[in-house]
Amino acid sequence: MQPFAYARPATLADAFALLDEHGPDACLLAGGTDVVVGLRNRTLRPEMVIDLKQVAELQPAISEEGSWLTITATTALAGIDEDQRIHARFPALIEAAATVGSAQIRNRATLTGNICHASPAADTAPALLAYGARVNVASARGTRRVDLDEFFVGPGKTVLQRGELVTAIDLPIAAERRGAAFARITRRRGVDLATISICCVVESAGRTVLAYGAVGPRPFMVADESGLLADPAARDGAKDEVLRQLLTKASPISDVRGSREYREAMLLVMSRRALRASLERLRAA
């Protein structure tokens, strides 16, 4: 680990001042489960680590305002799992969050950190994408909201500019019934990075959203507006045609977790399964 300065600002204003001062030499820390690994491996070499855990405005909280559920930046994944509103309305996010690391990791790791790390394989990203999440970005110069689908740029890269940080993630509360499922392929059942991950959300009006991780430079989403995927009467072959068309957006590579060929095959297999599970849950809802 290379020596670095450490600051624990008490307010957002203090955090912005530090970010503005240190710019790219600063590194934000919330749960620290990615940052500390990077520091120890010397892949991260910041001069300043800004710990956000004591920032008053970012304290762990999940709140409901109008048609949005807001999750603050320091809310740990374990906190997501403890929230009954998320269990009721965003069950696939619960499923996705439960796959991140181990119980010990989830006590520390934050939902916002999982997104800001911008790993193509971020487990919560497909669920957040499929549910239509947006990201609250703030800096000394003001605030802005970014759709999550526009937030990711590439591996480890987001649209965040110098001086900006994420204060919260918003999830839209849908009025209509939905069925959703998260699934992934891993090399083992215990803690693992995804070979592919998928989240499917079927809306009662017939729209189906599918979001994927680990099969491209960034997590992405696609939608079937035709209603065919959501149609219980549609033939499997017809659904496969639609899925294949949607999956042309995927661009998996070969790495130590799996080959491109296997990932491509699993995209279809797991899409079918997630769709089937989502439809069953919609029917049961």
Binding site: M1, Q2, P3, R42, I185, R187, R188, R189, G190, V191, D192, L193, V256, R257, G258, S259, Y262, A265, M266, V269, M270, R273
Partner: protein
């Protein structure tokens, strides 16, 4: 006492993090060492510039090969081939070219990054095929083995075993296949760690080793010191599995300590540990002849084992494992031809099972293949061919020393062999046999104190297998005193008498007997003492000691040893003391869409002669089974074209977690008191992983119809096999 599940000595300290490991030992004025390596497998070192590194505040010494005695000392358990630091070239990814010693860990790390190494990447030998290519670069300099006719090749050794006449053997069916076994690493939770300090004209070394006496011998030779001036302290390792059997960086830290006159410590990272130890990978080509009823007619085995850049103990692994390459079966005609090949990869070394998982993968899969072709039951074909007790299944050597069929029947019963099975599921059963320790010696001193408590001195290492507990049980039983009044002292060559090593499941038999004999020596002295004092025969030990040592105190010292001598001309140097026989049965469910395997039930049966501590045996067998599931389902070291490990580290090298365990696990034993150890015991603890792969693979075949002869059975590999089936 014997046959009871006494709680594991040190178990609580291990699981609560209170046990003292090497990394927890802090000596004053210690220097911290960081190694410098290249991001490359095989490279020629052109120049090393340490100027910038030596400017780092806190740096005290930087060593390269040029700073070492010339020629650079080389060492190894069998061949003295491994230099203290790379000389002229690196031969595997991670071989250190320099070592930095500094006042702090951070300074050492920062300086290590500033050591500038100019190097030229060279073509390397990373596979069996590459090693055998006549144009391949030579891994071992011919000058290091001038009298060896193989010196101009990458073949370290060729072995030929066999009996009968394979060419003349008659068979109704010949099954011919090739099998591959991957490189896997030990993944002990405690990475390798070393501390050395100057000590009274010699050196003291703290190292997490299974073999303090060999480390002592090698350090003494490298430094030119008498054994008595080299003290090796080996605190209980945090897992070892064979990977901590032979010296790695002990000579380097010892030299650094003597050069600087200060204690030095080197803690390898997990990644560096992965680069130091692995299991020997191999490719096995087998022709097996059968009669129509399933009786084996012949085995014709040709294998290539891929060693690393230095021989370490891998030659012994290959020698011992292939000696029993036909398994525990009656084979009338056998021919076993083996090549041990050097490569530019991590040195392969001892690893739980010692080559047996590799050879059993082939001989067991062959039996399954024959059973399928002949329409025979896979358990029946094994029972038909298994050696019976007393039968010399390797002509002229230690005969079968157990009722092996009993183990097979027990495993078959536990997996409900033959009962109806759900679609998508399958069962498999496999056996394996390992030659235990051949030659060797263990000594113990037991001190019975005047208050009736006892100190047992034993050079065994307890790396988690429970030797402390079992040896205490033996002493408690023999001396007739409570186990909690016994202290077992291990791991200090200045305090405990010689033990060859903790390996080959030998400690219960060899050291167990030495401790029992030391206690019996005490008991004989006590009887004499009682007679001398004119005391009645049934006087208690404590009363006797009080009567004898009332005023000036004192103690009774017992000495015991157990030796198995070298047998000249024997291919292994001596006959196996016993065989470790194991049977594994598994039921799996295969997801044909993804290739994922779910283990529904997994059974191991170990023929242990006598379980001195049944819970310890069960834990060892369960642990071994889970470790076996690692190389069966997910573990393999992946190399890129330049010999770099692609999945270096815990994130990308996967081992089973609690969530990967079979839904149901059973670890059963067979006890017929037919072993050479105390109370009829045999060694245990390796068997559970020896037949995992063939048992699980056979179950996958029953579930899917596909036969896979490469490991591990990753979801992708199983999926690909299913795709080929469906073409």
């Amino acid at each position: 006492m014997i046959g009871t599940s006494q709680p594991r000595a040190g178990g609580l300290a291990r699981v609560t993090g209170r046990q003292q490991f090497i990394a927890d030992i802090n000596l004053d004025h210690t220097l911290h060492v960081k190694l410098v390596h290249l991001d490359c497998g095989h490279a020629r070192i052109v120049a090393i510039d340490t100027a910038a590194a030596s400017e780092v505040y806190g740096v005290v010494a930087i060593l390269t090969a040029a700073d070492l005695p010339q020629p650079v000392p080389r060492f190894g358990p069998v061949h003295d081939d491994r230099p203290i630091l790379a000389v002229g070239e690196t031969k595997y990814h991670g071989q250190p070219v320099a070592a930095v010693a500094a006042e702090t860990k951070e300074a050492a790390e920062a300086a290590a990054e500033l050591v500038r190494v100019e190097y030229e990447a060279l073509p390397g030998v990373y596979t069996v095929a590459a090693a055998l290519d006549p144009d391949a670069p030579l891994v071992l300099e011919p000058g290091l083995r001038p009298d060896d006719p193989l010196r101009h090749s990458n073949v370290l050794r060729e072995l030929n075993y066999g009996w009968g006449d394979v060419e003349a053997a008659k068979a109704d069916l010949v099954v011919e296949n090739s099998y591959a076994f991957p490189m896997v690493t030990h993944f002990a939770i405690e990475p390798h760690a070393f501390i050395a300090a100057p000590d009274d004209g010699g050196v003291v070394i703290w190292t997490a080793t299974q073999n303090p006496f060999q480390t002592q011998r090698i350090i003494a030779r490298v430094l030119g010191l008498p054994l008595a001036r080299v003290r090796v302290i080996a605190p209980d390792p945090g897992g070892a599995f064979g990977g901590k059997q032979h010296p790695k960086y002990e000579p380097l830290v010892a030299l650094l300590a003597l050069r600087t006159g200060r204690p030095v410590r080197l803690l390898l990272t997990l990644e560096e540990t992965f680069q130091e130890v692995r299991r020997t990978s191999c490719e096995i080509h087998v022709r097996t002849g059968f009669q129509a009823d399933g009786t084996i007619s012949f085995q014709d085995i040709q294998s290539d084992f891929l060693l690393g850049a230095y021989a370490d103990v891998a030659e012994r692994v290959i020698t011992k494992a292939n000696y029993l390459a036909c398994g525990p079966y009656r084979v009338p005609d056998a021919r076993i031809t083996v090549r041990a090949l050097l490569s530019h990869t991590t040195p392969s070394t001892a690893f739980r099972g010692f080559g047996t998982p590799q050879v059993s993968w082939a001989h067991e899969s062959q039996l399954d293949d024959a059973a399928r072709r002949l329409g025979l039951d896979r358990v029946d074909i094994r029972l038909r061919n298994l050696a019976r007790k007393g039968e010399a299944f390797v002509p002229g050597d230690t005969p079968c020393d157990g009722d092996w069929a009993e183990s097979v029947r027990k495993a078959a019963g536990a997996i409900e062999w033959g009962s109806p099975i759900a679609a998508g599921r399958g069962r498999g059963l496999a056996v394996a046999i390992k030659a235990s320790a051949t030659t060797g010696a263990s000594y113990s001193i037991v001190r019975l104190h005047w208050d009736g408590s006892a100190t047992v001195l034993a050079g065994t290492s307890d790396m988690g297998q429970g030797a402390r507990t079992v040896l205490a049980q033996v002493a408690a039983h023999e001396l007739g005193i409570p186990i909690d009044s016994i202290k077992v002292v291990m791991g200090d060559t200045a305090a405990v008498p010689f033990d060859l090593q903790t390996s080959a499941s030998r400690s219960t038999v060899f050291m167990g007997q030495a401790v029992a004999r030391a206690c019996r020596d005490i008991n004989a002295q006590l009887r004499q003492m009682a007679a001398d004092l004119g005391l009645v025969a049934n006087v208690s030990v404590v009363e006797l000691l009080r009567a004898r040592f009332s005023e000036v105190r004192g103690e009774v010292i017992g000495v015991g040893s157990y030796r198995s001598e070298h047998q000249p001309g024997h291919p292994l140097g001596g006959s196996p003391s016993f065989y470790e026989f194991s049977c594994t049965a598994s039921e799996v469910e295969v997801d044909e869409g993804t290739g994922e395997i779910l283990l529904v039930r997994h059974v191991t049966v170990a023929d242990v002669g006598k379980a001195l501590n049944p819970q310890h045996v069960e834990m060892q067998d369960e642990g071994a089974a889970v470790m076996g599931l690692g190389h069966t389902l997910m573990e393999h070291i992946l190399l890129d074209d330049s010999g770099r490990i692609r999945n270096l580290g815990a994130l990308d090298y996967r081992i089973p977690t609690t969530k990967d365990l079979p839904l149901e696990m059973l670890a059963l034993v067979v006890e017929n008191a037919d072993g050479p150890g105390p109370y009829g015991s045999k060694g245990a603890g390796e068997g559970g992983l020896m037949a995992t792969a063939p048992a699980v693979a056979s179950a996958v075949t029953e579930a899917t119809g596909v036969v896979i002869r490469d490991l591990p059975l990753t979801p992708e590999r199983v999926w690909r096999a299913i795709q080929s089936r469906d073409l």
